[in-house]
């Protein structure tokens, strides 16, 4: 009977909720291992002290805890890009969103890492989708999304305003890298990239026209360089007035000198061309984000050696700047040699759908191996963490997920999850709710008595 098996399932879930920390020697054997760059049938993944010790086809070392993964798939934990994990709890609830800031004196200097919450209930949900690391990016408070269209369910109908918005600067702030292990600290590295919207959204910030934003951007970098060369004069008020706050000037120095990547949210092919030109002229290192029309200028992006963060299921002309959006965007960019990373379907709550997006890219021409790379090694590489996570290889963080089947398939589940070697309880607030009502919720005692 269906309900009895439900209750059994619930009991099993409870039995597994105490996290077992596997700092000890552990070998995952017999599975199909996706290392991130290759596939090993009947592979053995050995982890210890939070790191991958070895990946290959050898026998498990003596004394290791053995996890039998025969018939299963073993992958690196996936890396979410363009996420808001830990920085936004409930999108429409004011006060629970720390991803955008409207003050014009704290623009480039806004650092999301201070607002991260390791206890966020979004983290276990994403984790159950195989996400073990994430790039948390600030969102720009002004200018709008630029993608247009109907916000689902009209939740944004009346405009959920951000209080205190003063004509904001060009920059949304700086991104951070987190891990998703349960615990008291999720920060891996703060200030890994600067964010700036271009296209319609950027034009809106600058006053309405795209050309104005490019002028303002160049003028801003000129001020940053002037400031960097004349700090002493600035501090004794001996420099001409600058339009940015001191904090923002300071934060932009590594952007101006090309050491901190600038994530540019841009959609239209024409805008992508202009942004590539701007980056060349100013010596700025950029990452394209969104890039719905990128396939039209794939060779130019490849030639500039610029990586792209994209959602491969964006195929509708949601606005006039995405009229060339196509499901094949990922495939075209990959075959042109562009390094791509695949995003989830929103920043915080639907990040777990990243793996489905990768699967849909495959069904639209992206090679399977490239799709796996786009959610593992590529995001690590793009954000300067190559070899440290997002890959099953000796020395990398032991972020390992054991799947019931192909991880890109919705029918597959993440069964066992290690992050930095720590085994994560396969549960979430959603699972607790599910189990509470699994038997119908009409027993003699109200559901409130069930944990």
């Amino acid at each position: 009977m269906r309900l009895k098996s439900l209750i059994l399932g619930a009991v099993c879930a409870v039995a597994l909720t105490s996290p077992a920390f596997a700092q000890s020697l552990t070998a995952i054997t017999g599975g199909r291992v996706l290392t991130g760059t290759s596939v090993i049938e009947n592979g053995t993944v050995v982890i210890q002290n939070g790191r991958v010790v070895s990946v290959g086809t050898g026998a498990a070392p003596a004394g290791a805890r053995i996890i039998d993964a025969r018939g299963k798939v073993v992958s690196p934990g996936f890396v979410a890009v363009d996420s808001g994990l830990g920085g936004s709890e409930i999108s429409s609830v004011n006060g629970s969103d720390d991803l955008s800031n409207g003050a014009n004196t704290i623009s480039a200097s806004f650092d999301v890492s201070y607002g991260l919450d390791p206890w966020s209930f979004t983290l276990p949900v994403a984790r159950l989708g195989g996400i073990t690391r994430a790039i948390v990016v600030p969102t720009h408070a002004g200018g709008g999304g630029g993608s247009g269209g109907h916000a689902h369910d009209d939740s944004d109908f009346a405009g959920v305003g951000h209080g205190g918005l003063q004509s904001p600067g060009l920059f949304a702030g700086q991104a951070a890298i987190i891990h998703l292990a349960a615990g008291t600290d999720i920060l891996v590295k703060p200030r890994v990239a600067m964010i700036a919207p271009f296209g319609e959204a950027g034009a809106g910030i600058a006053g309405g026209a795209r050309g104005a934003q490019f002028t303002q951007f160049k003028e801003t970098l000129a001020e940053v360089r002037l400031f960097a060369r004349n700090r002493a004069a600035y501090d004794r008020a001996g420099l001409r007035d600058l339009s940015l706050s001191r904090a923002d000037l300071e934060a932009l120095i590594p952007v101006a000198n090309g050491t901190l990547p600038l994530i540019v949210t841009v959609r239209r092919a024409a805008d992508i061309q202009q942004v590539l030109r701007l980056a060349r002229e100013e010596g700025v290192k950029i990452i394209l984000d969104g890039a719905e029309e990128a396939w039209l200028v794939a060779d130019q992006i490849a030639a500039a050696n610029v990586p792209v963060l994209l959602n491969p299921i964006s195929n509708l002309p949601g606005s006039l700047e995405t009229r060339a959006a196509r499901m094949q965007n990922a495939a075209v960019l990959d075959s042109a040699g562009v390094v791509i990373a695949i995003k989830g379907n929103d920043g915080s709550h639907r990040v777990r759908e990243t793996r489905y997006n990768a699967g849909n890219a495959v069904s639209h021409g992206l090679p399977y191996d490239a799709a796996i790379e786009a959610i593992t090694v590529n995001p690590a590489k793009i954000f300067g963490m190559a070899g440290q996570f997002g890959e099953l290889r000796a020395g990398a963080a032991a972020d390992v997920v054991i799947w019931s089947g192909d991880p890109l398939e919705p029918l597959s589940n993440a069964e066992t999850i290690f992050i930095g070697g720590a085994e994560q309880a396969p549960t979430s607030r959603q699972f607790l709710l599910r189990d509470r009502y699994a038997s119908g919720g009409e027993g003699a005692l109200p559901p409130a008595y069930t944990r």
Binding site: S91, T322, Y356
Partner: protein
């Protein structure tokens, strides 16, 4: 003469008109029966044109004709009928746009039928999306085109979504490439009563009427919860709270009962002046007489229970709760009441009332006897992949040990949505006599890699992933950036 035939209840009249040509003879009979009691009313002059709904009960009639079709046999595929069966090496016979037979390999193929080879592929009913805003919130979503919410009053039952539909929305084409053959387009959820929704056949058309499904009942979009109280409370007007919402529904149905009683009385005895026609009350009266189905946006379980009580207070039925995030908390109640729960699998957390979402929602709602679990989209992207959204719900159910078959789960996006729209007698499953709305998938539709290879609507090929001649483009798409360029060396289909 026309006067006489309309003397019965408005329910009977509208039902006859909406049921289409098949039911015409029955309507004539009913009209004849109703004729006997009040012969003196014959003397009355008809009202001026447009002042009596009974004179023009279907003012925006469907002109849907269907595309050119031929009789065919789809053979060799794995068939999910939508009604619970899985047939390996199955045969689907289509005659004159209708399903003529469904069976195993031995099912005879009539002479002269085109044989469609589905070996190695999967065959399902056309996918039905009960919650779409295609055409009313079209792509591009620019300010001149955002026509989905008449957010000017909490009760706009008088507006009809079909009057906002832009048939050139490219989203109809991409939805079809994802297997969508029928969809309900609804107004938005800013209001307690958002207006009438309309059910469309997903064929390209220059006019809305050319897509309108003949005989499909209208839906009335109602909305519980945060949206109406936020929109109107934010303007310092009512409703500003959940209790204000409920007062608003009840006041409207009191007025509708009164309006309906006046018309019924006037039709019965013809005394005095006729009531003045009121489009808002007319739609609500349609709910009361059962010709307009309640399609109720309602997230929270406790609010669903209140809505059920309101329906009982005024004597109408709720057909479906949409965005039923907490349906799993009252699954047995919904099954007892015969109310469909139309759900997402993966959407959650975008507001308080979406907080308690669980991926197993559809599986848990599906479990009780008499249930009606539906996966819907509310989204131009998600509607292209309802099969994957159902797969994720199926996986969530199996994860807790529920033994749910794929032939059962496919009903969440086929037969159950047809029930949720009141069209299950016409489509939603591959059963003899129904419209031949069929999708042939490249692989098991519960796989992320499955693509809709061919999509048939009323037996007519409307989309073919391998044949550009059957990959329609809207006027808007012509000559746009990227137009005509092959994006990659793969079968493109739509966009």
């Amino acid at each position: 003469m026309r006067r006489q035939s309309l003397r019965g209840s408005s329910l009977a009249t509208l039902a006859c008109v909406l049921a289409g040509s098949l039911a015409l003879s029955a309507c004539a009979t009913m009209g004849g029966d109703a004729e006997t009691p009040a012969a003196d009313a014959e003397a009355r002059t008809p009202l001026a044109r447009g002042l009596d709904v009974a004179d023009v009960p279907d003012p925006f009639p469907s002109t849907y004709r269907g595309l050119p079709r031929e009789n065919m046999a789809i053979v060799g595929g794995t068939v999910f009928t939508g009604a619970g069966q899985r047939i390996e090496n199955g045969v689907v016979i289509v005659t004159d746009g209708k399903v003529a037979a469904v069976g195993g390999a031995s099912t005879p193929v009539p002479a002269g039928y085109r044989v469609v080879d589905a070996r190695g592929r999967f065959v399902t009913p056309g996918i039905i999306d009960v919650h779409s805003h295609l055409g009313v919130y079209p792509s591009p979503g620019v300010s001149g085109m955002s026509d989905g919410n008449e957010a000017t009053s909490p009760n706009t039952a008088q507006v009809w979504a079909e009057h906002s539909i832009w048939p050139q929305d490219p989203g109809f084409n991409t939805a079809r490439a994802g297997g969508i053959t029928t969809l309900q387009v609804l107004p938005g959820s800013a209001n307690l009563f958002g207006g009438r929704g309309v059910t469309l056949r997903n064929v390209p058309s220059v006019t809305m009427q050319g897509m309108k499904m003949p005989g499909a009942p209208y839906g009335l979009k109602m909305a519980c919860g945060e949206n109406p109280s936020r929109v109107y409370g934010g303007r310092n007007s009512s409703p500003a709270t959940g209790m204000g919402n409920v007062a608003g529904y009840r006041a409207a149905f009191i007025a509708a009962r009164d309006y309906k009683a006046k018309w019924d009385k006037w039709r019965e005895d013809g005394e005095g002046s006729p009531p003045t026609r009121n489009l808002q009350l007319e739609t609500l009266a349609g709910v009361l007489d059962g010709t307009v189905l309640v399609q109720n946006h309602c997230y929270r379980a406790d609010e669903m229970a209140v809505m059920i009580d309101i329906a009982n207070e005024f004597g109408y039925e709720i057909t479906a709760f949409h965005h039923a995030i907490e349906a799993y908390k009252v699954a047995p109640l919904l099954a007892r009441e015969g109310i469909c729960a139309d759900m997402w699998t993966g959407w959650w957390g975008f507001k308080m009332e979406a907080l308690d979402a669980v991926e197993a929602n559809a599986a848990l709602v599906d479990a009780p006897e008499g249930s009606c679990a539906v996966i819907h989209s509310d989204d131009a992207e998600l509607t292209q992949r309802l099969n994957q959204e159902a797969a994720a719900a199926l996986a969530a159910g199996r994860r807790i040990g529920m033994n749910i078959s794929e032939e059962r789960a496919i009903s969440w996006i086929t037969l159950n949505p047809a029930r949720s729209l009141g069209i299950a007698d016409q489509t939603g499953s591959l059963e003899t006599g129904k419209r031949a709305d069929v999708v042939i998938w490249s692989a098991n539709p519960f796989s992320v890699y499955a693509r809709a290879d061919q999509v048939f609507i009323d037996g007519a090929l409307t989309f073919d992933r391998a044949n550009p001649a059957y990959q329609p483009l809207s006027d808007f798409e012509l000559g746009q950036p990227g137009f005509g360029l092959p994006a990659a060396n793969v079968l493109q289909g739509a966009r």
